[in-house]
């Protein structure tokens, strides 16, 4: 810490130039509603914390990683075997990515079920859904970078799924792959997407998301708002922030435990001329889609089964993106059980299909 005299001088210097009083005033008045759903507020902050860890560990990995089909696998192998604490940095990056998607999903569905997307927070929801999409794309592009067998085939399947879209599909697959097949060109592309394009998009949209949250404050449950009773609140600083820190420390403890005791595996190097091995699977958060594609028959009527599946997922995503504008009853301040049931349906579908992906017999 700075000595008090110096801190005072420094604050006064800044105050004269940028008027810190406005910020102080904002912090003094910022409050967080207290009710029996307050606990869900912490998951957004945890997601943000895990994202910060991703940025830091990602930058560290950049120092040794080499993005080419000939060297990618070897460079990750070098990181985890030769570089001091390389195994830890890489393991934290992989585990934190997965925890981040998990807390992000909890955050997303808690906002959904508490209807916090209703007016005036529609844009906060839309930016949040965009961030979710970016996070999934982060996961998909990062998965390929070690250039191992599992990731190679997952990327083949994933980019081919994009090719199922009518009209633009084939060209989209070529753009994603940097050619007709998954090759070193795909690796270069995914690398650029993972370390430049997505971080740029994420920073911009995340900034907007956080700005909206600050501007509008936390949403309280509808019943509480309509009851007319003065709702209980707690000051953001320091009460809520300190609680937030407990959430961050919990996330850090879980992360450290997982990374140290279950180091992320590297697997075998990708070989484009080897058959896809048994037990091939994507990351857990794509598992429900993967499992759905297994169950769909080759043809449903005249249409390819996989096209139906892909369109279904797109429509599901579009529904979630636009839900503040579709849920008219909530917008009018009425109860809307239909959207609760749709939410329950979506969560159940994701959970059941994901579990099936891990326990259902695979074939061989």
């Amino acid at each position: 810490m700075l000595p008090p005299r110096l801190a005072q001088t420094l604050t006064a210097w800044l105050d004269e130039r940028i008027n810190l009083e406005e910020i102080r005033e904002f912090v003094r008045h910022k409050v967080v509603p207290v009710h029996h759903h307050t606990v869900w507020y912490y998951f957004g902050g945890m997601t943000l914390f895990l994202f910060a860890i991703q940025v830091c560990t990602g930058i560290l990995l950049l120092l040794y990683y080499r993005p080419s089909a000939e060297e990618a696998y070897e460079s990750v192998q070098f990181i985890v075997t030769k570089v001091q604490f390389g195994w830890l940095i890489r393991s934290i990056h992989s585990w934190s990515a997965n925890l981040m998607i998990a807390t992000l999903m909890i955050h997303l569905f808690s906002v959904y079920f508490t209807r916090a997307y209703r007016k005036p927070r529609e844009l906060t929801w839309v930016t949040g859904m965009l961030l979710f999409g970016i996070a999934l794309f982060f996961g998909f592009s990062g998965y390929l970078l070690p250039w191992n067998t599992l990731a190679y085939f997952a990327t083949k399947v994933g980019t081919d799924v994009a090719g199922q879209l009518p009209i633009v599909g084939h060209e989209l697959t070529r753009i994603l792959r940097g050619g007709e097949d998954v090759t070193g060109a795909t690796l270069s592309r995914f690398y650029g997407i993972h370390v430049a394009i997505l971080p740029l998009l994420m920073t911009g949209i995340l900034g907007l998301h956080l700005f909206l949250v600050q501007k509008q404050g936390m949403s309280a449950p509808m019943e509480l708002e309509q009851s007319g009773r003065p709702s209980r609140t707690m000051p953001f600083f320091p009460n809520f922030l300190l609680r937030d820190l407990v959430g961050w420390l919990t996330a850090l403890a879980v992360l450290a435990g997982l990374a140290a005791y279950f180091p992320w595996e590297l697997g075998t190097k990708a070989d484009p001329f080897a058959p896809a091995p048994a037990g091939i699977r994507p990351e857990w958060y794509f598992m429900f889609m993967f499992q759905t594609l297994k169950y769909l028959p080759a043809k449903i009527g005249p249409i390819d089964g996989e096209l139906i599946g892909v369109m279904g997922f797109n429509l599901g995503g579009l529904f979630l993106l636009l839900v503040p504008f579709l849920d008219g009853r909530t917008a009018r301040g009425q109860r809307s059980p239909l959207f609760s049931w749709i939410g329950v349906g979506i969560v159940t579908y994701i959970v059941v299909l994901s579990v099936l992906g891990y326990v259902a017999p695979g074939g061989k």
Binding site: F153, K156, V157, T159, D160, V161, E171, R174, I175, R177, G178, G179, E180, D181, T183, A185, P272, F273, A274, P275, A276, P277, A278, G279, I280, F290, L293, K294, L296, P297, A298, K299, D304, G305, E306, G362, G363, K364
Partner: protein, 147 residues
Amino acid sequence: MDTPANSRRGFVNLLLGSGFGALMVSVLYPVVRYIIPPESGEPSTANVTLPWKPSEIRVNTGRIFKFGTQPGILVKTPAGELRAFSAVCTHLNCTVQYREEKQDIWCACHNGIYDLNGKNVSGPPPRPLEPYRASVKGDQIVVSKGA
């Protein structure tokens, strides 16, 4: 109100606006074209000679070989006949393999199954595997397009 001054301002705005629009197009067009990868210059492969002798291949086995940039699969059926197909699953692009115990061609990604004629018999694949012609020329196995 459509005063001369207003319409003059409108005209200048239109000019500036379309100039800016044209600038954006001239910047974005090369970027979009740049992102789309060029067509591969490699000629499409018509036939390959495999690196194995016919006598090396055991009955009821399958091997993956390089057919240009794509994987192919060579199968020696239980009856001793050599057959070749593209090894690219018609469902979502994974590479298939031969299962000796079930005597079929199997894709591990989504559990798609083909018979020994390359026909899709179970699971999600919508089409048969592309067949190739496998022929024995002296001590060599030559695989060519079209069966």
